[in-house]
C-alpha cells in the first residue's frame, strides 16, 4: 500500500484555474491592444503640455519629434525643443525604469548641447502614497535642475557636496534612487547618439 503512493490528479484539481488564467490573459491582451494607443496619446498630450516647464523659452507647438537609435540598439522617441523663433532650445527625453512599486515614467529636459539637465517631470508612477509619491512634487524634481550630465548622478542622504549629488527623499530612498538611475541610464544610452544625429536630421 505504502509502496504505491496515491497519485494526485493535478489537472483534475487545477484545470479551472489554468483555463481562467488563459481566458483572463487573453481578455487583458485584448484590452491592452485596444486602449494602449489612446493611453499613449494621453501621455503625449501631457508631454507637450509640460515641455515649456522642462526647457525654458520653449514653444511646445514648434517641437520636432525624432526617433534616435540608442547605444542599446533600440529606437527611442525624443523631442527636439525649439523656441518661438525656431532656435534650438533643448531636448525632452522620455525615459522609464523600475521604481519601488511599479514602473516609473519620466520626462527629462536638457539644454541644446545635452550637457545640463533643465527639468524633470514624472509622467507615471505608483510609488507608496505619502512617501515615494513625493517624487512627483516640484521640491524633489527641482533637485535635478542644473545638474551636469558628464558624470552619473549619485543619490545621497545628506546635503549634496558635489554637482552630481541629489538629496534623497526622507523615507523614500529607493524611489529617489530609481528616478536618478532612470536619468543616468537615459543619458548613457542617448546622449552621444542624439548629439550625432542632431540637428541636421533626416540625412538618410
Amino acid at each position: 500500500m505504502s509502496q504505491a503512493p496515491k497519485r494526485v490528479n493535478y489537472i483534475g484539481q487545477a484545470w479551472l484555474v489554468i483555463l481562467l488564467a488563459l481566458l483572463y490573459g487573453g481578455a487583458l491582451a485584448g484590452v491592452q491592444n485596444t486602449l494602449s494607443g489612446k493611453i499613449a496619446e494621453n501621455k503625449k498630450n501631457e508631454t507637450y503640455h509640460v515641455i515649456p516647464s522642462l526647457v525654458s523659452g520653449a514653444d511646445a507647438a514648434k517641437t520636432v519629434e525624432l526617433v534616435v537609435r540608442g547605444e542599446d540598439g533600440k529606437e527611442a522617441q525624443v523631442y527636439q525643443v525649439m523656441g518661438p523663433d525656431g532656435a534650438h532650445m533643448g531636448w525632452v527625453v522620455p525615459a522609464a525604469g523600475q521604481g519601488f512599486a511599479d514602473r516609473i515614467e519620466v520626462l527629462i529636459g536638457f539644454d541644446a548641447s545635452l550637457s545640463t539637465i533643465t527639468g524633470l517631470y514624472v509622467l507615471d508612477q505608483k510609488e507608496t502614497p505619502g512617501l515615494g509619491d513625493y517624487i512627483t512634487g516640484a521640491d524633489f524634481r527641482d533637485r535635478f535642475k542644473g545638474r551636469p550630465t558628464d558624470e552619473p548622478l549619485v543619490v545621497v542622504k545628506s546635503d549634496p557636496q558635489a554637482d552630481n549629488q541629489i538629496r534623497a527623499l526622507t523615507g523614500a530612498t529607493i524611489s529617489s534612487t530609481s528616478v536618478s538611475d532612470i536619468v543616468n541610464a537615459a543619458v548613457a544610452n542617448l546622449k552621444e547618439p542624439m548629439l550625432r544625429q542632431a540637428p541636421g536630421l533626416p540625412e538618410d
Partner: protein, 219 residues
C-alpha cells in the same frame, strides 16, 4: 437549506443600508479614507469598484459549481485582479487626469476586502440573479458611504462640491479636512452618528413594544 439564503431583493436592500460595506461591515477602509477628499475622485473610485464587484460576482456565480474548495480564493483573486486591470486601463484611456490623481488606489481595488467577501459570502453560493443583485446593492452602499464622507470633506475643506463653489467666497477652507487626518475625523464622526441613530431606533422600538404590552400608551 437553500431557502435560508437571502433572496435577490434582500441582498440588494441589505447592501445599501442594513449591511452597508463601510458603516456596518467596516470594509474597504483604504479607499474610504484615501480618495474621499473630493466628490470627483470618490465617485470615480465608487464606479470602478462597482464595475469590479458586479463583474466578479457575476463571473464567480457562473462558475460556482466548478469551484474546488481549496482553490476558490485563488480563483476569486484571479478574477478580481483581471477586472481591476481592465478598470485601470479604461480610466487611463478615457479619464486620464483622474487616473493620475487616483494613482495606485485603482490597482489597490484588488485588495478591497469588500469584493472578495461578496464572492465568498454570496456569489460562490447563490444564483446569478442573487449575486448580481448583491453586487449592485453593495456597490450602491459603498458609493453612498464614499459620497457622504467626500461631501463633508470637500465642502469643509475646499468650500466646493463636485468642484462647484457652495460655500461663500470668504470660507477659509479647513485644510485639515483635505489631508489624511480629515478622513479619519470625518469617518469617525459619521460612524458615531450612524451608531447613535441605530441605537436610538432600536431603543425606541423596544420602548414602543414595552409600552404597548404594559400600559397602552403614556410614560
Amino acid at each position: 437549506m437553500a431557502t435560508d439564503e437571502p433572496t435577490a431583493l434582500e441582498r440588494f436592500i441589505n447592501g445599501i443600508l442594513p449591511e452597508n460595506p463601510v458603516y456596518r461591515q467596516l470594509l474597504g477602509m483604504c479607499p474610504t479614507l484615501a480618495v474621499t477628499n473630493g466628490m470627483k475622485p470618490a465617485m470615480t473610485m465608487a464606479a470602478a469598484t462597482a464595475f469590479v464587484l458586479i463583474s466578479a460576482n457575476i463571473m464567480i456565480s457562473l462558475i460556482r459549481g466548478l469551484l474546488k474548495p481549496h482553490l476558490r480564493i485563488l480563483v476569486f483573486t484571479l478574477t478580481i485582479a483581471t477586472f481591476v486591470t481592465i478598470a485601470d486601463r479604461f480610466l487611463a484611456a478615457y479619464v486620464y487626469e483622474m487616473s493620475k490623481q487616483l494613482g495606485p488606489y485603482v490597482p489597490l481595488i484588488i485588495v478591497n476586502c469588500l469584493i472578495i467577501s461578496r464572492c465568498e459570502i454570496c456569489a460562490s453560493k447563490q444564483s446569478l440573479k442573487v449575486a448580481a443583485a448583491d453586487g449592485v446593492g453593495m456597490s450602491l452602499g459603498f458609493a453612498l458611504a464614499l459620497a457622504s464622507i467626500a461631501t463633508v470633506r470637500e465642502i469643509l475643506g475646499s468650500g466646493t462640491w463636485m468642484g462647484l463653489r457652495v460655500m461663500p467666497a470668504a470660507w477659509p477652507g479647513w485644510g485639515i479636512m483635505v489631508l489624511p487626518p480629515g478622513a479619519f475625523l470625518t469617518l469617525g464622526l459619521l460612524l458615531a452618528i450612524a451608531e447613535w441613530a441605530t441605537a436610538r431606533r432600536a431603543a425606541k422600538g423596544a420602548a414602543g413594544r414595552k409600552a404597548a404590552a404594559h400600559h397602552h400608551g403614556g410614560s
